[in-house]
Amino acid sequence: MYRYDEFDETLVRERVAEFRGQVARRLSGELSEEAFKPLRLMNGLYLQLHAYMLRVAIPYGTLSSRQMRRLAHIASVYDKGYGHFTTRQNIQYNWPALIDVPDILDELADVEMHAIQTSGNCIRNITSDPFAGAIAGEIDDPRVWSELIRQWSSLHPEFSFLPRKFKIAVTASAEDRAAIKVHDIGLRIRKGADGERGFEVMVGGGLGRTPYIAETIREFLPERHLLSYLEAVMRIYNRLGRRDNKYKARVKILVAEDAAEFRRMVEDEWARSDKDSLDAPLDEIRRIRRHFTPPKFDRLAAESEAFDAARAARPEFDRWVKTNVLPHRQRGYAIVLISLKPIGKPPGDISARQMDAVADLAERYSFDEIRATHEQNLCLPHVRKDDLFAVWRTLDEAELATPNIGLVSDIIACPGLDYCDLANARSIPIAERIAERFADPEQAADIGELKVKISGCINACGHHHVGHIGILGVDKKGEEFYQIMLGGSGGADASLGVITGRGFSSSEIVDAVERLIRIYKANRVDGERFLDAYRRLGPETFKEALYGDAAHH
């Protein structure tokens, strides 16, 4: 993991001091809420329906157990005993008092954390593959480059007042676990023709009101030029991104208007830039890389007798292994996913006690490492197969062993009308009721991989456009209604879902989802996922299931 040196530490401390001064000016009345708003928004502090919300950055989703314990401590002392993991690998606290926020930031700085640029029209927290360094098939460790970008983008003097927020994601595998094609910039680490390492640069993806899949503007960028190229993209966007309409201000609009022209301008800007000054020196990249040397894995047999015996003896352990455990690149190890989607609870929520339990497990069994995933779950990246049963038992005791990763109840949902003043409809109760409908683990396993994503308004924080089943809350004459979209994917085969037709009321929506699943099960060919079946069969079959019997109602 990356550890701060004196420079990182000083910068974060100076940021806390600056924000403490700004909060004091607000509390004394020197700053109005209107004047304070842009300042707090530079530091992850939102004013929501009921209270302030503080979003804490978890750079590329990596946490140590010490950091997780501190997050638990903050939840206990300054909030209502829980936190909420987001779709951008961050954590949010929903009830902090303004006067406490500088102290919370000091507590975070003690463990090398901050809330810098978790909101505002700037470059947001960098996201990446939660399995970095653990999964087979990576061309490089994406965390090295994510950290380089984190530092470069922090308090950037030119790019802190962009037309709109800006999100960058990095991955290094063929399989995309960071949804890079729906980011403002997606970077895929790849090999060039001569074996040289570099990036495919994708720009202009995004969800929200007008979703787009990103365009590749450069097939191959040598890795040493990453920062100068990012500067060129950002400068073109800062200069030409629309500022007259916040719904047309994201870079995706600029790219969608004329991708070839956007590419030409970026290349032209880059050709004229002072790369020697802008690009990071090789020794700095090497310095960062040293923080991500692989842990000292034991030399183990590929199979574990204790593990196999436990699976045979305990069906509920076996079921959890099937859904929540993935192959590791190191022999004898596994990647463990911790579901934050217990049946009938808000997706992504975790109590302070549970955070402490995860921290203890990471310390004892996973080289002190924890990851947050963009699907609002947690991950222990490096667990010995021999230890899986012990890990499962502890997770089970902490109510963290829901065996539903990738299944119908592993739902992404935005906070919705329960918390958010932008929302048109509630999201969390819909997620809870769908999960309850398919609570039977045998039934859920039989349905197989199915990504349900729910947003409470068209801003799409619940990523409904890239759900296999996407659900969008809308307001219809003061009543909450839910539209269904089908066929979306945020993976390497990224696609945007297509709306099916009229929306469903809150009391109809769960039945509608069940009808979709029933028609999938009736038509699937062996082993075919819901998404594959949808792509093969086309929308009509599914629309018929949703609306075909409407005449009878």
Binding site: L11, R15, L155, F161
Partner: protein, 154 residues
């Protein structure tokens, strides 16, 4: 208009205009700097790269922040300093608030029209940070350079 001038020796406020102003629109209508000191004011929608020969004839450039959330002039200032190597004064006008002063200084501004803003607040804000992660148009060495220097010293 009270202007904070940022120099290597510190920052000072004065209200004296430094010479005459010509807007880019006036230039395009034929106005030219003659005897004395002249500054060119440029709207934030202009591509600075295309103005190299014009700005070279001025002692100063004035860039605009119609609202503090409109950050286009940061890119203009860096382009002026880093690409066009403009050595005259680069002044920020409009929504110039102390909370953005350091970003402005790093982007290459050395004069800020602070209006009735508190100069002490600006001077404090300019000194709020001692560490910077990225190279910009100011003289500050970014952390990655200082790290390298420290390694070599060790």
């Amino acid at each position: 208009m009270a202007t904070l001038r940022i120099t290597d020796e510190g920052s000072v406020v004065d209200s004296q205009p430094k010479g005459e102003e010509i807007s880019l629109a006036q230039w395009r209508e034929g106005a030219r700097p003659e005897a004395g000191r002249f500054s060119l004011s440029i709207p934030n929608t202009e591509d600075i790269d295309g103005l190299a020969e014009i700005v070279a004839r001025f002692d100063g450039v004035i860039l605009e922040f119609p609202h503090f959330t409109d950050g286009r002039a940061y890119s203009q200032a860096r382009t002026l300093r880093e690409r066009l190597r403009f050595k005259g004064e680069v002044k920020a006008r409009g929504a110039v608030l102390c909370d953005q002063a350091l970003f402005m200084a790093r982007a290459g501004f050395d004069a800020l029209e602070i209006g009735d803003g508190d100069p002490a607040g600006f001077i404090r804000a300019l000194a709020a940070y001692s560490v910077f992660y990225q190279p910009a148009a100011d003289a500050a060495a970014p952390a990655r350079v200082l790290r390298g220097a420290k390694r070599e010293a060790a």
